[in-house]
Symmetry: C2
Subunit: 152 residues, 2 copies
DNA sequence: CCATTCGGTTTCAAGTTGAAACCATTGCGG
DNA sequence: CCGCAATGGTTTCAACTTGAAACCGAATGG
């Protein structure tokens, strides 16, 4: 789907996830799947995207093991789309994007939602990056390392 | 750049960040910027993308306040591209994507890098989502809430 | 000065996207 | 059993986007 340039030598571990997801719209499908949507029609209505496009995106997400189809819960002959374990791993990406959105894109007076703990209804904490020893790390206090360079 | 469907009523706070970033390639630019790249040519060489496309992406990132141009460090007449505060906020998105990539996309025997604490050289911890009271939350233990529904 | 690098813009063929039309299967009322 | 609507797609095709290559102008470099 996305052209493979076979060129992102330095850091395939960002580029390949991006390639697997396919494009931005696909992440909205994943988001809706987290919100409990399972049916083609639900996604289509939620996203307002053309059916052929949605169809292609769903196929791509399935091909990359992010979604899978299961027989419909209600016993009808249709199938439903649900997140795999791998797909659920995208939770943190969505949380990070959402917190970034909350910070920089929520105009005053806008209908504004945010993530809360289901049990208490209280907002969740912001994501933080921690060192192995628990120290809070700011952007810039990390780098990439080849694992062969790791101290034992 | 991306068509505005004015339709993602439920959750603009995912859709709008996605729209601001523009497309996948743009996140790779941001990643490179975190890695210290500043010059047009550096990005072009790193990403292997056509110059017109890179030019358009950079312009889009600037328009959305993720990058800004500054006079070149070395005193030359050219300018350089650096992350804004808002752009640095994408750090958590990149960390989340990378950890997902590490988990699901690193084949055995591949050149494999991961994020380490600059000070100690030890790997960073995995991202976690915590409730306000500190409890660790799994995907599915959160929901979206309108802020008017929040208990005081 | 002449050549080369840097930082782009322009051009245009090829590929992608998406709205609408179409199709196939199931569900259901009579 | 027939008709008809809802669901879940696929096909078609015009419009848009993409990107490789050519071009361009301004700064270095020799």
């Amino acid at each position: 789907m996305v052209k493979r340039t076979s060129h992102q030598s330095a850091d395939c571990l960002i580029a390949r996830p991006l390639d697997a997801i396919g494009d931005w719209w696909s992440l909205l499908i994943v988001r809706d799947a987290f919100d409990g949507m399972r049916r083609f029609g639900e996604f289509q209505k939620s996203l307002g995207v053309a059916k052929n496009i949605l169809s292609a995106r769903l196929r791509n997400l399935i091909a990359h093991g992010i979604l899978e189809t299961v027989p419909a819960e209600d016993g009808s002959a249709h199938h439903e789309y649900v997140l795999t374990e791998k797909g659920r791993g995208l939770f943190y990406v969505l949380v990070a994007l959402r917190q970034w959105g909350e910070t920089y894109f929520s105009g005053p007076g806008e209908p504004y939602t945010f993530m809360v703990d289901t049990r208490t209804g209280r907002p969740i904490r912001r994501l933080e990056v921690h060192a192995e020893d628990g120290r809070l790390l700011a952007p810039g206090e990390t780098r990439l390392a080849d694992f062969r360079q790791q101290p034992e």
